[in-house]
């Protein structure tokens, strides 16, 4: 069976990201369970903290750079780094080069250039590196996929998440209208421009709710925190769940009961 390959002899270092670590540990646990089931050896380096995206996108360039340095030094010897958050991967791919160019030294630039091709978003890692679509998951629910802006436009994930979801047994996919439109999170944008952010969210919710799905999933818990926060506020009959948690679910180990 494709999903039970124990001879991959692949080692992945999990960069969990600061907010998943703190707010959504179940996503991290799901990534570990999923990758180990696929025969990937997972390691976790406790010295990790944050990729620096929040600082970079808010204008704190020097602070973002110190996070970037930390990331490269921590992972320069890693075989593969897997990150269950497309916006953090986009930060590394799109913003690190500029930061190292401007503030870094020759050694850091070299280390970063060598590391970059080994940094993967989770769905990229599954489809492109492990080369698997059917991960042996079972999730008998109606699910709609929200494409995060960074996954869609920065990483060009394309149909990868849909291919993974299509192979999940029992899962019914419902397409989300206006898939390319931002949910309004935008990091500190959601508090700096809370009113506009909320207006964008209310537009997004119209599309999300009209799918009548039980779950809204994505590859970024940040968007899901935003969408899910509004769903919870409204006592809506829908929950959010990270794609990794769907892929980790099997009949024997269903989705972790969470709040």
């Amino acid at each position: 069976m494709a999903f039970c390959n124990n001879d991959l002899s692949m080692r992945a270092s999990l960069f969990i990201t600061c907010y998943n670590d703190t707010l959504y540990p179940e996503t991290g646990r799901a990534v570990v369970r999923l990758l180990e089931r696929l025969g990937v050896e997972v390691e976790f380096r406790p010295a990790q903290t944050c990729c620096g995206q929040m600082h970079a996108n808010t204008g704190f360039r020097a602070e973002a750079y110190s996070q970037a340095k930390r990331f490269v030094r921590l992972y320069r010897d890693a075989e593969t780094v897997v990150i269950p958050s497309s916006s953090c991967v986009a930060m590394i791919r799109d913003q690190y080069p500029g930061l190292f160019e401007e503030l870094g030294n020759e050694e850091l630039r070299r280390d970063f250039a060598a590391l970059l091709p080994r940094v993967h978003e989770l769905s990229e890692f599954l489809i492109d590196t492990v080369a698997v679509e059917d991960v042996g998951a079972y999730f008998p629910h109606r699910v709609t996929y929200h494409a995060s802006c960074h996954g869609l436009r920065a990483l060009h994930l394309g149909d990868r998440p849909f291919r993974l979801l299509a192979k999940v047994r029992g899962l019914e996919q419902v397409p989300l209208a206006n898939l390319d439109r931002c949910c309004g999170f935008g990091g500190t944008f959601s508090v700096k421009n809370a009113e506009v952010s909320s207006a964008m969210l209310s537009t997004k919710l119209m599309d999300v709710l009209s799918t009548r799905a039980e779950y809204c999933t994505a590859l970024d818990n940040s968007c899901l925190m935003h969408i899910g926060g509004a769903l919870h506020r409204q006592f809506a009959a829908m929950r959010t769940v990270h794609l990794a948690e769907i892929l980790a679910s099997t009949e024997a180990t269903p989705l972790e009961a969470s709040l």
Binding site: D21, P25, T58, R70, C149, N193, V196, S258
Partner: protein, 497 residues
């Protein structure tokens, strides 16, 4: 309610402020506008229609990405050789009988234009839609000199008669619907019998304008492109009002930003294709007018070009931000922008709204004003995807945010700003895994106070209230991921879970 446009604009101020120096911060302006449901409906509908047409026409073009790349390369080339092409334009335009003026800033440009109008002894002028004229606030200056300015673009007539301001660079009255247009026309043209039938409304505008075209001998235009090779000016439009202004008057004054130049006549092949498809979702715009200097017996016999800098040279000198000047003012970024689609243009406090406005206006203001505009974006990247000349708007937004932050670092009161303070503290915590772990534990403990029985946080104080005003937040879980991992890895630890 006698006037939905005026009263619906914003509570308190009936006339939106499009002066970045005086405009309120973006979040404040947006807060007011978001209550205007009529405006939001109009903006959402109009942007949907234009974007839908644009997408269809871009999809049918198999070589769209190549065209974009060509458009981008061409504009980059111009900016790298701007001095050369401007001088060439000046030389060729002058040789063809035009008079070229150079304006360092808005004051100089207004003074030059007013001086020409004085020499012409003009009491009235007709205008082709030009956003550059709004940038330098030309109309109020003209009116102050006792000269009447008549806009001739349908949307601009609606705004002028409705005492409103443009909210979009291509479709300036996109926030007004036809019922509101009828109301404005009925009142200001004294035509109570008008219905909201579009044909009838354009008919009313046509008869309103026709006598002005025939009467007023002086016209002011902007420019879509200046062609260095031939010294020509190019205007593209949809209504024919531009063509009228270019043929009937005796004197034509063209105001153009210095970045508008392109090298050769042939370059229009690329530029007109990407512009029409991106701007209005048309394969070709209905009217493309080109004129070169003065031709005896044909068209205006006196022709002036005012080349406006107004902060552009400074942008040109900055390596990353330079690409801002590649813009050909198609407005595609505005139509696709999820922020603009909620607020429309007035919230940006500048004639340049949407993503391009959020990067252009603060730069034209040398970041002394409009400092909140770079933050008026969720950085979703939709603008970069549609830009026909590949301006990486998110990259520039982030860059400008860094510049605004660097200015904040100098300010005494910065530590009273919870956002600033939060960023500094977060950086201190992220710098050490031990400190980060400690903060996670303290956060878990502290937030317990706010967590309700269902495990969710419904209300937070201070900056957190900006989140919980519309969104709940799940309370912090009992165990962070790293704690779980540590327990799992420990001998005899809880495997699996």
């Amino acid at each position: 309610m006698s006037n939905p446009v005026l009263e619906g604009q914003s509570a308190g101020a009936s006339h939106p402020i499009l002066d970045p120096v005086k405009a309120p911060p973006f979040p404040e302006a947006a807060f007011t506008i978001l209550r205007n449901t009529q405006l939001r409906k109009n903006v959402a509908h109009a942007t949907d229609v234009i974007q839908g047409k644009r997408n269809k026409l871009v999809e049918e073009k198999a070589d769209w990405q190549e065209l974009r790349a060509a458009g981008s390369a061409l504009r980059n080339h111009v900016l790298e050789n701007l001095g050369h092409y401007l001088e060439q334009f000046e030389e060729r335009c002058t040789a063809a009988g035009g008079v070229v003026h150079w304006a360092r800033d808005a004051d100089e440009a207004r003074a030059i234009i007013l001086e020409i109008l004085r020499q012409e002894q003009a009491t009235e002028v007709i205008k082709i839609k030009t956003m550059t004229s709004a940038e330098i606030q030309l109309n109020p200056a003209i009116e102050a000199a006792g000269i009447k300015a008549f806009e001739t673009d349908l949307a601009e007539i609606i705004l002028q008669l409705g005492e409103d301001e443009p909210s979009h660079i291509v479709v300036p009255a996109l926030h007004v619907n036809r019922t509101q247009v009828r109301e404005i026309f009925a009142r200001r043209m004294n035509r109570p019998e008008l219905t909201d039938d579009p044909t009838e409304l354009t008919g009313a505008a046509r008869s309103f304008l026709r006598e002005k075209f025939l009467r007023v001998p002086t016209a002011i235009s902007g420019a879509n492109f200046l062609i260095a090779e031939t010294g020509s000016v190019v205007i593209v439009e949809s209504e024919g009002n531009g063509r009228m202004c270019l043929t009937l008057p005796r004197t034509m004054i063209t105001l153009a930003g210095i970045e508008k130049v392109i090298p050769r006549f042939q370059d229009l092949e690329i530029m007109l294709q990407v512009l029409a498809r991106s701007a209005t979702g048309e394969r070709m715009n209905p009217y493309s007018s080109l004129w070169t200097g003065v031709t005896p017996g044909d068209g205006p016999q006196r022709f002036h070009v005012v080349l406006l800098d107004n902060g552009r040279s400074e942008i040109l000198g900055k390596e990353r931000e330079r690409q801002t000047l590649k813009c050909i003012r198609c407005g595609a970024c505005m139509n696709t922008c999820p922020v603009y689609r909620q607020t429309g243009g007035h919230a940006y406090g500048s004639v340049y709204a949407g993503p391009i406005g959020a990067i252009l206006t603060p730069q034209l203001m040398r970041l002394e004003h409009a400092q909140t505009l770079p933050y008026a974006s969720s950085l979703c990247g939709a603008c970069y995807d549609v830009c026909p000349v590949k301006i990486n708007i998110p990259e520039i937004l982030i860059d400008l945010r860094a510049k605004v932050t660097d200015k904040e670092r100098e300010e005494e009161r910065r530590f009273f700003d919870p956002m600033y303070l939060g960023m500094i503290v977060a950086n201190f915590l992220f710098a050490s895994p031990r400190r980060f772990r400690l903060a996670q534990r303290m956060g878990r403990f502290g937030l317990r106070l706010f967590t309700r029985k269902d495990g969710w946080i419904h209300s937070l104080p201070s900056i957190g209230a900006r989140w919980t005003m519309t969104r709940d937040l799940r309370g912090l879980p009992r165990e962070t991921f790293r704690e779980w991992w540590a327990g799992r890895a420990a001998p005899g630890g809880k495997r699996g879970r």
